[in-house]
């Protein structure tokens, strides 16, 4: 035992691999947990877990995907049970055939002609809209649109088939657009703020 796995060398390697991804991890954690304090906790849990399992990390493989997998697993394990969100699995993955995802949304789409989002759509609104997605949709949107992971990487991070990544992304983005377009229609002056949650409640009731 040269203790190399925990030598200064190994710690330096870990820190060097980790450093570039701390901000992206934090930004993603913020979208997952929706508040700064929980985001910090999540990132800290993730990083300490990654550090403990660093000898399991295969050098030369995709560290970013590896640590994001730890992030999402940590989030799912320790945070999801505290939330009362319904899982997509309960909700609509009963429809196991992916095609049905698409056809369902296609129908909706023809009913609601789509529109260009305003270029000046507020970042804040986009974030709120992302935050309002169910967890499964939110995770793929964060990984694909915020972190720009490939489908294959996302499939590995979330341990789901690539087809599932694709259909979740399709539906997640559709919901986002719908929320944002509705928001633009409701408040033409994007600088004015409204409570998106209140908006969603109204939508649900409708």
């Amino acid at each position: 035992m040269f203790g190399l796995s925990r030598s200064n060398q190994s710690r330096a390697q870990f820190e060097a691999l980790l450093s570039p991804w701390l901000d992206p991890l934090y930004a993603s954690a913020l979208r997952l947990t929706r508040n700064e304090r929980n985001a910090e906790d999540l990132v800290q849990d993730t990083v300490m877990r990654a550090w403990r399992f660093f000898d399991k990390f295969q050098k030369g493989t995709n560290f970013r995907a590896w640590i994001f997998k730890i992030l999402t697993n940590t989030f799912i394990n320790s945070y999801r049970r505290n939330t009362r969100e319904r899982s997509l699995q309960d909700e609509s993955e009963r429809q196991s055939v992916e095609a049905s995802f698409f056809s369902a949304d296609l129908t909706e789409q023809t009913q609601n002609p789509e529109d260009f989002l305003l270029q000046r759509v507020m970042s804040e609104d986009v974030l709120k809209a992302i935050d309002s997605l169910s967890i499964d949709f939110r995770m793929v949107v964060i990984l694909a649109d915020l972190q720009e992971f490939s489908y294959k990487e996302i499939a590995e991070i979330l341990d789901v088939p690539v087809g599932t990544v694709m259909s979740r992304l399709f539906r997640g983005r559709k919901q986002l657009q719908k929320l944002l377009i509705a928001r633009e229609e409701e408040v033409p002056n994007a600088a004015a703020t409204i409570d998106l949650n209140a908006f969603r409640e109204r939508k649900k009731l409708a």
Binding site: F2, Q44, V126, R173, Q177
Partner: protein, 263 residues
């Protein structure tokens, strides 16, 4: 491909995940369709707006938080080292290489000259003359020097090769070891006959030279000098998990017990 097919492929298309024929089919339909191009354009636009907005609003992790994280890692690292060191002490009977640092280190100018020379020669990475198993290396040295060269076994390191070299005026066997870790490190062991010209005792002693740590000890008229870029802590952790598992014969040279155990 019809418009409906296109819709099912739109997400991967916009993400650049549609390749080869699927992409060609998609674009062929796009070129021939009246309505789809507008739809694709809207989708592409909206996606880029959403992406840009989400990114623009992504805050960096607070610096104080980052500092705290690195501090946690450091503290955890040190705690583990202490734990392992404690475990090592608990296995006292099995402790093979005890390194006594401190006042004993810099006794004698003569010895430091040998240490320097060994470190420099190790650093130059001379080509090896034999690269085989420890036993084969041992055999290869047989008869080449006027004392028997044994290849000591170190836990978690393998002797990978050897050659003849000198350390100052002494003809020496040079044995190279690779640590079998994710980040392999090389160590070089010099073995040379010495009739007490060099101030090295049976107790391993450590010094540093040219950026390397050099551990020296003696077995009768044979001096061993181990040159490595492992730090002192790591050298202390040369604990046999299962002593002699790999290269059975050569153990004895390193079975030097720590001073605290020698009564």
């Amino acid at each position: 491909m019809n418009c409906r097919d296109l819709e099912t492929q739109l997400t991967p298309y916009l993400d650049g995940e549609l390749i080869d024929e699927a992409r060609l089919d998609f674009e062929a339909h796009l070129a021939s369709c009246d309505t789809c191009p507008k739809h694709v354009e809207i989708e592409r636009h909206n996606l880029s707006v959403i992406r840009a907005a989400a990114k623009a609003q992504s805050p960096a992790a607070p610096p104080a938080f980052k500092a705290k994280l690195f501090e946690h890692i450091r503290a955890d690292d040190e705690r583990r080292r202490r734990v392992r060191f404690g475990q090592m002490a608990a296995m006292a009977a099995g402790v093979t290489l005890a390194v006594t640092a401190g006042h004993q280190l810099y006794r004698g100018h003569q010895r430091s000259l040998y240490e320097q020379d060994a470190a420099m020669r190790h650093a130059r990475q001379f080509p090896l003359e034999i690269e085989q198993s420890p036993q084969a290396i041992e055999r290869w040295f047989g008869g080449k020097l006027d004392y028997r060269v044994r290849v000591p076994g170190f836990p978690n390191a393998r002797a990978t090769g050897g050659r003849l070299l000198q350390v100052r005026d002494k003809a020496a066997a040079y044995i190279r070891y690779d640590t079998d870790r994710a980040a392999p490190r090389q160590m070089g062991l010099f073995v040379y006959g010495d009739d007490h010209d060099v101030d090295v005792g049976a107790e391993p002693a450590m010094a540093s030279s040219h950026g390397y740590n050099v551990v020296s000890w003696r077995e009768g008229d044979v001096v061993y000098q181990l040159v490595t870029d492992l730090d002192e802590q790591d050298i202390r952790e040369l604990v046999p998990a299962n002593a002699g598992a790999e290269s059975a014969p050569p153990q004895p040279t390193l079975n030097v017990r720590p001073a605290s155990l020698q009564q």
